[in-house]
Structures are given as C-alpha cells and as structure tokens.
C-alpha cells in the first residue's frame, strides 16, 4: 500500500517539477532579453536631460535602434533626419518671404511654425520613449528611475547583479531536480559501477604488466648471474693457465729432467697422435680408456672420431662425442717443424660446459702447441711402439 502511496507522491512531485520548470522557462524567455540589455546599459551616474535635449533638438549622432518592427515610427521620429528636416523646413519657411515677394499671412505662419514645433515635440517624445525602453540603445537608467520608479525599484537588484540571470535560476533548479531524481541517481550509481568495473580491469591489466615486468627482471637477474659465472670461469681459467705455464717453465729446467709428455695434461685427460700417411699413430695418452693405438683415417669405424673429422676437415679444431658414454673429445691440429703433424685430443666429461669454451681459446691452443714444440725439441714425441722398442 505504501508503495502505491509513495508512487503517487513521486508522480505528484514530478508534475510540480515540470510545472515549476515550465514557469521558470517562461519567466526567463519573457524577462531576460530586455532586462539583460538594460543591465548592460545600466549606469547610475549618467545624466539624461542633456543627452535627451541634444539628441532631440540638435540631432547629434545617434546609434541604430534595436531591430523591432513595432518601433519603426519611434525610430523615425527620433532620428537625426527628422530633426534636421524640421530645421530645414523652418529655415525655408523663414527665408521664402525674404527672397521672394511671397508673404505669409498669420494663419499660414501659425501653421508653418506650429508644424515645426509639433515635429520637435514629437522628436522629444520619441527620444524620451527610447530612453525609457530597456532594450533600446538609448536606454538611460536615470530617466527610467524618474519616469518608471516602480519598475526601476523592482529591477534594481537585477541591474546591479553582473553574474546571475533568470537562466541561471532555471538551470540550477533543473540541475537540483535532476540530481535528486530517482532515475538520475540510479543512472549515476550505474555509472559509478561501470567506472568501478573499468578501474578493476585497469588494475588487473596493470597487475599483469607488473607481473611481466617482474618476470623480465628475474630473467635479467638470471642472465646477470650467468655472466658473473662466465667472468669467474674466465678468471679461473686464466689463473689455471697461468699456473700451468709457470709449472711447465719450472719443469723445463734440464737438471731435473721432469718435463715430459705428462705435461700435456693441462685441462683434462688427453691423447696425442701423429698423422703419418693415412694413419694416426698414438704418441701418448693419459686417463683415456678406449683410445686405439693406430687409427686408419679412412676406416668407417673411426669416421665419427673428432681427430679423423679434423684431418678430413679444414679447421684447426674439431669436437665430437666419444664412444665412451658421457665423454666429449675436442681435437687440435698442431704443426711442428720438420713437417710433423700432431693431433692433440682433450677427453672430458660432456657435462662440463665450460671446457669447450676454454679449449676454443687461442691461448690454450698456443700453450698446448708450445709444450709439443718443447717435447719435439727434446725428442720426447715418439710413437708408443717405437718408445717401447727403445726401452727394450
């Protein structure tokens, strides 16, 4: 029941709202234009008698009248042409008897001068009327104050106000109704809900972007850690190489006779072959398990060997997986004076990822070759069979 009652109350309120807005609109439409014009020309310190007389009797420069059809007669009577026309007629009327034999009788003179007087009175009246018209360019607030006192007092508050108009009142009332109207409040509420949804979506997007950013940061940190490891490995390799070179130099002293093929074990287990014709003949090895003594480079059994691939290739280094599971072999091509060609093989665990990078360095190659040169100079690079024979 109260819902129906409430509904009636709302409907009645709606009706009142429409009525009030309509009335305000009418007031605004009828009052605002002339009052606004009057406000623009409102000047309490401006006199009116002098202006009125000069305009009416002298025909001093006048502004164009507001374009309103009903006032054309007033505009004509108050124009400068009306005044000057009157004076020209008066002058003509006065001069005619002087320059001709024509003399006006009393009746004619009364009519002539009377017409001129009436014309001037009409001009005075028309100009005064215009000074009392709100939307006329000649409107004068002091004349209005004198001749339309009641209206003047009514509109004084409006004239003195510069900011607000009837339109403002209408807009405010409409806005107040709009803001407090159920539909508009619900619509506003829905708008807020939409904004909420959009914001939550935006936040979700921002969150996703941040997550991606953090993932990128994690990847960067991993890459950084990898580079730090690389630097550490490089430093370690240089240190190890330096120490190995120092040891070799000490072992090279002739009195101790320590220097030998075992000095070739620098990084890992190794094997050393010499290329003789189509065969690779083993000179020495350390730590290997299945290295043949002689390898036929055209034997398909050995075709996958890194040393065989190196011989058939055109590079200085070759790498292959070993027959022994989990092992990798990298081979160097080493030329010695006297047209000897050696193949030096590193045998290392495939899991050691750094090893290949170290083996690929020019410094390591030159170090191994340098040791081979010293071994060759000392006659220590003999084929294993020959060495055994010599030992026997």
């Amino acid at each position: 029941m109260f819902l129906i009652g409430g509904g009636t109350s709302v409907a009645s309120e709606d009706h009142n709202r429409v009525e009030l807005l309509s009335w305000l609109k009418t007031i605004e439409r009828d009052f605002e234009p002339p009052l606004l014009q009057g406000r623009k020309r409102f000047n309490e310190s401006r006199g009116w008698v002098g202006i009125w007389l000069i305009r009416s009797l002298v025909g001093a420069r006048v502004e164009k009248m507001a374009d309103e059809k009903g006032r054309k007669l007033v505009a004509l009577l108050s124009s400068r042409w009306q005044t000057w026309g009157t004076y020209a007629s008066l002058l003509g009327f006065t001069l005619v008897p002087a320059i001709s034999d024509l003399q006006w009788n009393l009746w004619q003179s009364a009519v002539g001068y009377g017409a001129a007087g009436i014309s001037l009175i009409l001009s005075l009246t028309a100009n005064l009327k215009r000074m009392l018209t709100l939307d006329d360019p000649y409107f004068n607030s002091n004349a209005y104050k004198l001749f339309r006192r009641q209206e003047y007092d009514m509109f004084l508050g409006y004239f003195r106000e510069n900011k607000y108009t009837f339109r403002t009142i209408y807009d405010w009332v409409r806005l107040l109704y709009k803001e407090n109207n159920l539909e508009s409040v619900i619509e506003e509420h829905r708008g807020i809900q939409r904004e909420w949804r959009e914001m939550v979506n935006q936040l979700q997007r921002e969150l996703n972007e941040k997550e991606l950013g953090l993932e990128r940061n994690e990847r960067i940190i991993r890459q950084l850690a990898e580079q730090i490891d690389s630097l550490q490995r490089l430093a370690k390799f240089n240190e190890d190489g330096f120490n190995a070179a120092i040891s070799t130099i000490y072992r090279l002293r002739s009195e101790d006779a320590l220097f030998g093929t075992s000095d070739l074990r620098v990084l890992s287990d190794f094997s050393l072959f010499e290329l003789v014709g189509n065969k690779l003949i083993r000179i020495c090895e350390q730590g290997t398990t299945e290295t043949p003594r002689i390898i036929d480079i055209y034997d398909p059994v050995y075709a996958h060997y890194s040393s065989v691939r190196l011989v058939h290739g055109s590079g200085m280094i070759e790498t292959a997986t070993s027959d022994r599971e989990g092992r990798t072999i990298s081979s160097y091509w080493i030329d010695l004076p006297g047209d000897r060609t050696l193949i030096y093989n590193f045998h290392y665990d495939s899991t050691n990822a750094d090893m290949h990078a170290i083996i690929r360095t020019k410094e390591m190659y030159r170090f191994i070759r340098g040791i081979c040169l010293h071994l060759d100079e000392r006659g220590l690079l003999q084929w294993e069979g020959n060495r055994h024979h010599a030992a026997n």
């Binding site: 109260f2 409040v185 941040k210 940061n217 960067i220 590079g315 690929r360």
Partner: protein
C-alpha cells in the same frame, strides 16, 4: 684430398680471452639497458596504479553520496 698445410686451415673457431671478456661486457651492457627499460616500465605502472588508487578513493566517496541520495529517496517513497 687432405689439407695438411696448417696455414691453409681455418683458425676462425678460436677466440681469445679478451674477445670472451668483450663479449661478456657487451652482454652486460645489453642486460643493463634491458634492466633500465624494465624499471622504467615498472615505475610507469607504479604511477598508474597510484593514480588508479586515488581515483578509486574519489569514486568511493561519489558512490557513498549516491547511496545517501538513494537512501533519502527510499525514505521519501516509504
């Protein structure tokens, strides 16, 4: 035909320690640049999130206002 002359063989597979170091340096520079970009993007998202949180506070008070209006209207109807 076997290539037995070492001078004819390619040594391009070798690198020097300096080259390795330069490669690491270059990679570090790249990482640093990427890191700066990522931080800039994160900072931008931080600012955006802050702005959103401020807007949310504003929206919350607007919502409170409309709820109040709804409450007043509901009172009128009843």
């Amino acid at each position: 035909m076997l290539q037995t002359d070492a001078k004819q063989r390619s040594a391009r597979d070798f690198t020097t320690s300096t080259e390795q170091l330069l490669a690491i340096r270059k990679d570090l520079d790249r990482i640093q640049a990427e890191n700066m970009r990522t931080w800039a993007a994160l900072e931008h998202h931080n600012i955006r999130t802050r702005e959103l949180s401020e807007s949310m506070v504003e929206l919350l008070s607007k919502q409170e206002e409309t709820l109040k209006k709804l409450e007043d209207l509901a009172k009128k109807i009843s």
